[in-house]
C-alpha cells in the first residue's frame, strides 16, 4: 500500500510553484465560460506562451467558475507579489493582446478590464465557491495548497465521529437541496442506525431549471465534495458512498471520476485513509434524465438500477435505504460546506447568516438581470441586495416584476417583498421555497400565468406517474392554465384550478407532486389580476 499523501509537503511545494513565474494567467474554464468560448482562449494563451518561449515568465492555469458568467470568458492576470487584473469577454485574439501588452509591455488594457470593485464581487461571501477562479480543478495539489483535505485529516486524527457531528450541529447548517432539514439530525440518525453497512449519498441530480451550483462545485472543486463525503461517512460510520450525478453533466462526471481515482491513489479514499482505521469506497452513479430522481427515495431506486419512482416514507432512508441498508442523502452544496466547518469550527459558521438559517447560500442569478452568474451570499441577505446590488438590477430600462426561486417547486416573489431576507422560513412564508438556489428575475414583460404554465408543464412532464394526483392532476392543471393563457378560461376554470392545487399539494406521494402547485399558488396569490384579465368574457364551451 502506497504511503498517504503528505498534505503539508504538497501544499508547500505547490505554494513555491506559484512564484516560479512572474505572471500567472488564470482563465475560467467552467461550463458557462467554455460555452462562451473559454476553451479557445485557454488554447490561444498556452499556444502563445509556448511559441514565444515565455514558459519561465507565464504559467497558464485553467480554473473553475469566477462567478460573473454574463461577462465570460473571464481571464485574470496575476503578477508575482499581488497585483491582479481581470478581463472580461475575452476572445482568443484579445487574450493574445492582453498577454502581449500586460506581460511584455507591462501595459494593462483598461477598456477590456472587469471592475472587481463592483458589488457583484464585493457583496459576496464565498465559502462553498471559495476556490472558484483560484484553483485548477484537475489538480489535487492545487486544492491541497488551498487547505484541501486538512479538514478530513483533522477529523480523522483529532476528532471522534460524535465530535464531528457535534461540530455540524453547532454550525446549524441545514440541507441545501431544498427542504432545509438540519444536517446534523440526519447525520445523527445514520450514525445511530443499526447495521454494519451504511451508505452516504451525495445528491448531484440538480434538476431545477435555472440552478447550476452543484454542477459548478462538482466540476470546479470536485475534491471539496469528496472531502465532505469522507467526513460525513467518518462521522456516521458509513463505509460506502455514492455520488449521483445527472448524465447532463458530463464534465462533472469526468472530473469527479478523475478526482476519486487521484484521491484513492493518495490514500484519501479507499482502505485505511491517511493511515487511520477509516475506509471508504466512493462510486459515481449517473442519472439518465429524470427530475424526480432528485427526490431521495427515487434517487435510491435509480442507484439500484430501477425506475426512479419515489416510495412512501417511513421507513426513512436512514432506517432503510439502499438495498435495505441505512442510507443518508445529502445535497452536493451541503457537503461542500463540511470541510470549512470542520476547519473553522461550527461557531464560525453559525456566525454567518441568520439564527435559523446559518452560513451562506449559492444562487444562480439569471433571467432579466444585468449580472447573471453564480453568487454566494450569507443567508438572510435581503432579496433587494441580491437583485439590485449584486445583480445590477433589471437591464434595458425594464422594471422588476418578480423573482422566481425554488424552480418548479417554488414560487414567484413580487417586488413588494424585495426587502425580505432570503432564508428558509421567509421564503416559505411568501409561498416559495429556497430550493436548490435558482433565482430567476423577471421583468414586467413576463406574464405570470405563462410562467405558471411553464412550470406546470415541467412538473407534468417530470411526474413519475406513480400517484394519481400528480400524474393526472398536473395534466388537468396544465390544461386549465393553457386555456387561461389562450384567453378561453372561465371563472369555473379558475375555481377548479385552485381546488386542484390543494388536492395535488395535499395528496401527492412525494415532494415533486406536493410542490407542483406552488408556482400556480404563488402567482395566484400575488398576480391574481393577471389571471382574471385573461378570463374569457362569455361562457366557454368545453
Amino acid at each position: 500500500m502506497a504511503a498517504p499523501i503528505d498534505l503539508h509537503e504538497v501544499s508547500e511545494r505547490e505554494r513555491e510553484a506559484r512564484f516560479r513565474t512572474r505572471w500567472r494567467v488564470k482563465a475560467c474554464g467552467s461550463t458557462a465560460c467554455i460555452s462562451a468560448g473559454a476553451g479557445a482562449v485557454i488554447n490561444a494563451v498556452e499556444d502563445m506562451v509556448e511559441r514565444e518561449d515565455m514558459q519561465l515568465e507565464v504559467q497558464v492555469i485553467p480554473t473553475g467558475c469566477m462567478g460573473l458568467c454574463s461577462a465570460g470568458p473571464l481571464m485574470r492576470m496575476m503578477r508575482r507579489g499581488g497585483q491582479e487584473t481581470d478581463y472580461q469577454k475575452v476572445t482568443p485574439e484579445l487574450s493574445r493582446e492582453i498577454v502581449r501588452s500586460h506581460v511584455i509591455n507591462e501595459e494593462p488594457l483598461p477598456e477590456h478590464q472587469l471592475d472587481t470593485g463592483i458589488p457583484f464581487f464585493t457583496s459576496q461571501e464565498r465559502i462553498v465557491l471559495a476556490n472558484g477562479g483560484i484553483i485548477n480543478p484537475d489538480r489535487i495539489e492545487s486544492y491541497v495548497a488551498h487547505g484541501g483535505y486538512s479538514a478530513l485529516e483533522k477529523a480523522l486524527t483529532t476528532m471522534k465521529p460524535k465530535a464531528v457531528i457535534d461540530e455540524i450541529r453547532t454550525a446549524g447548517i441545514r440541507g441545501r437541496g431544498g427542504a432545509g432539514y438540519p444536517v446534523a439530525s440526519k447525520w445523527s440518525l445514520l450514525s445511530a442506525a443499526a447495521g454494519d453497512t451504511k451508505y452516504v449519498v451525495a445528491n448531484g441530480d440538480e434538476g431545477d431549471p435555472g440552478a447550476y451550483m452543484d454542477r459548478t462545485i462538482m466540476e470546479d472543486d470536485p475534491h471539496r465534495l469528496i472531502e465532505g463525503i469522507a467526513i460525513a461517512a467518518y462521522a456516521t460510520g458509513a463505509s460506502d458512498a455514492y455520488i449521483y450525478v445527472r448524465a447532463e453533466y458530463p464534465r462533472a462526471i469526468e472530473r469527479l471520476d478523475r478526482a476519486i481515482r487521484v484521491a484513492r491513489r493518495n490514500r484519501l479514499l479507499g482502505r485505511r485513509i491517511l493511515d487511520t482505521k477509516f475506509s471508504l469506497n466512493v462510486e459515481i452513479r449517473i442519472g439518465a434524465g429524470a427530475f424526480v430522481c432528485g427526490e431521495e427515495t427515487a434517487l435510491m431506486a435509480s442507484i439500484e438500477g430501477r425506475r426512479g419512482t419515489p416510495r412512501l416514507r417511513p421507513p426513512y432512508p436512514t432506517d432503510s435505504g439502499l438495498w435495505g441498508h441505512p442510507t443518508m442523502i445529502n445535497n452536493v452544496e451541503t457537503l461542500a460546506n463540511i470541510a470549512p466547518i470542520i476547519n473553522n469550527g461550527g461557531e464560525w459558521f453559525a456566525s454567518i447568516g441568520t439564527a435559523k438559517s446559518t452560513g451562506t447560500k449559492v444562487f444562480a442569478l439569471a433571467g432579466d438581470i444585468t449580472n447573471t452568474g453564480l453568487i454566494e451570499v450569507p443567508m438572510g441577505t435581503p432579496l433587494r441586495d441580491i437583485v439590485e446590488k449584486i445583480g445590477g438590477g433589471v437591464p434595458d430600462g425594464g422594471t422588476f416584476k418578480a423573482a422566481q426561486t425554488g424552480g418548479p417547486s417554488g414560487g414567484c416573489i413580487p417586488s413588494k417583498f424585495l426587502d425580505t431576507p432570503v432564508d428558509y422560513e421567509s421564503l416559505r412564508e411568501l409561498g416559495s421555497i429556497m430550493g436548490s438556489g435558482g433565482l430567476i428575475v423577471m421583468d414586467d414583460s413576463q406574464s405570470m400565468p405563462d410562467v405558471a404554465k411553464f412550470f406546470m408543464e415541467f412538473s407534468m412532464d417530470e411526474s413519475c406517474g406513480k400517484c394519481t394526483p400528480c400524474r393526472a392532476g398536473t395534466v388537468q392543471m396544465h390544461n386549465i392554465l393553457q386555456r387561461i393563457v389562450d384567453g378561453h378560461g372561465t371563472r369555473g376554470d379558475l375555481r377548479d384550478l385552485e381546488h386542484l392545487c390543494t388536492v395535488v399539494r395535499d395528496t401527492s406521494l412525494c415532494g415533486l407532486g406536493q410542490a407542483a402547485p406552488n408556482p400556480v399558488l404563488s402567482t395566484l396569490q400575488y398576480f391574481r389580476s393577471e389571471y382574471e384579465a385573461l378570463l374569457a368574457k362569455e361562457v366557454a364551451h368545453g
Binding site: 429524470a290 424526480v292 425506475r307 416510495r311 412512501l312 417511513p314 407534468m460 412532464d461 417530470e462 411526474s463 413519475c464 406517474g465 406513480k466 400517484c467 394519481t468 394526483p469 400524474r471 393526472a472 392532476g473 398536473t474 395534466v475 388537468q476 390544461n479 377548479d496 381546488h499 386542484l500 388536492v503 395535499d506 395528496t507 401527492s508 406521494l509 406536493q514 368545453g542
Partner: protein, 246 residues
C-alpha cells in the same frame, strides 16, 4: 384468539386496539371502519399510489395513505372529514378523466372497484376535462384481454405477477401521463414467453382492464381475495380460509 401485542389508537375519536405493526387500513378493515382504497391488495406489497385511502393523522397537515401508515400508540386518525371527502372525490374524478371509462360498455360494469369507489366517494360527475387518450386493446392472449383504456395503474397485476407468480410479465413503461403497462419487451401479451396463463393478474384487476376473453358487458367477475387465500396458504399453511378471506 390473536395474541399479538396491541396499541391504542383513535379512529374518528373512538378508541380502538390496533396490533403492533398493523397498517391503519388493515386495522380499519378489521374493525369494520370503511376507508375507500384501490391499489391496496391484501397479500402483496403496498404500492401507495392511488391516494384514495388517504386519512388525516393528528396535526399532520399532509394526508397519509392508510395502506402505508403504521398504527402507533395514541394515533388520532380521522377517516371521514369534509376535506377527505372532497379530496377522495377529486382523486376519483382525476382517474375517470384520465382513462376512457365507459361503464355502459365495460365487461366489469356492476363488478368494478373503480365504479364502487366512485359511489363511495360521492362522485356524481367529473369536473375535469376527459383526457380521452388513444390506447390500443391487446386481445392477443388466447385466454385474456388487456384494455388499457380502463387501466388505472394500480399495479396490482405487476405486483401479483412478480411477487406471487414469480413471472414478472408485467411492468410499467414510460412515466407521468404516458405511463402504461407493458408485457415483456412491450410485445403483444399473446407472444409472451414468460406468462404462465395463471390468471392472477386478471383476478385482481379492480377494473375491466384485464378480463377473460369472450366476456360481454357486465359479465366479468374478479376475485381479488384469491391473493389473500394464496398468501395464507403459502405463509401460514392455512388452507381452510377464515371467514373474511372469502
Amino acid at each position: 384468539m390473536d395474541r399479538r401485542p396491541t396499541v391504542t389508537v383513535h379512529f374518528d375519536g373512538v378508541e380502538h386496539e390496533a396490533f403492533v405493526g398493523e397498517s391503519v387500513l388493515e386495522c380499519a378493515r378489521r374493525l369494520g371502519i370503511p376507508i375507500p382504497s384501490l391499489c391496496f391488495l391484501e397479500g402483496i406489497s403496498v404500492w401507495g399510489g392511488c391516494r384514495v385511502c388517504v386519512v388525516e393523522v393528528a396535526e399532520d397537515h399532509r394526508l397519509r395513505p392508510a395502506c402505508a401508515t403504521t398504527c402507533v400508540a395514541d394515533m388520532e386518525i380521522k377517516t371521514e372529514t369534509p376535506r377527505l371527502r372532497a379530496y377522495r372525490k377529486s382523486v376519483l374524478e382525476l382517474l375517470f378523466a384520465e382513462g376512457n371509462h365507459v361503464c355502459a360498455v365495460c365487461v366489469s360494469n356492476g363488478a368494478c372497484e373503480l365504479q364502487d369507489m366512485a359511489v363511495q366517494t360521492g362522485m356524481d360527475h367529473v369536473r375535469y376535462d376527459p383526457q380521452s387518450p388513444k390506447r390500443q386493446i391487446d386481445a392477443s392472449h388466447p385466454k385474456y384481454v388487456f384494455d388499457p383504456n380502463r387501466c388505472i395503474l394500480c399495479t396490482r397485476c405487476v405486483r401479483v405477477c412478480d411477487e406471487i407468480e414469480g413471472a414478472h410479465v408485467w411492468d410499467i413503461s414510460y412515466r407521468g401521463e404516458s405511463a402504461h403497462l407493458i408485457t415483456e419487451m412491450n410485445k403483444p401479451w399473446g407472444e409472451s414467453m414468460s406468462c404462465t396463463w395463471c390468471g392472477k393478474c386478471v383476478a385482481v384487476c379492480p377494473t375491466g382492464a384485464l378480463s377473460y376473453q369472450g366476456r360481454a358487458v357486465g359479465e366479468m367477475e374478479h376475485d381479488p381475495a384469491m391473493i389473500k387465500r394464496l398468501a395464507l396458504a403459502r405463509n401460514r399453511h392455512e388452507w381452510l380460509y377464515p371467514e373474511e378471506a372469502k
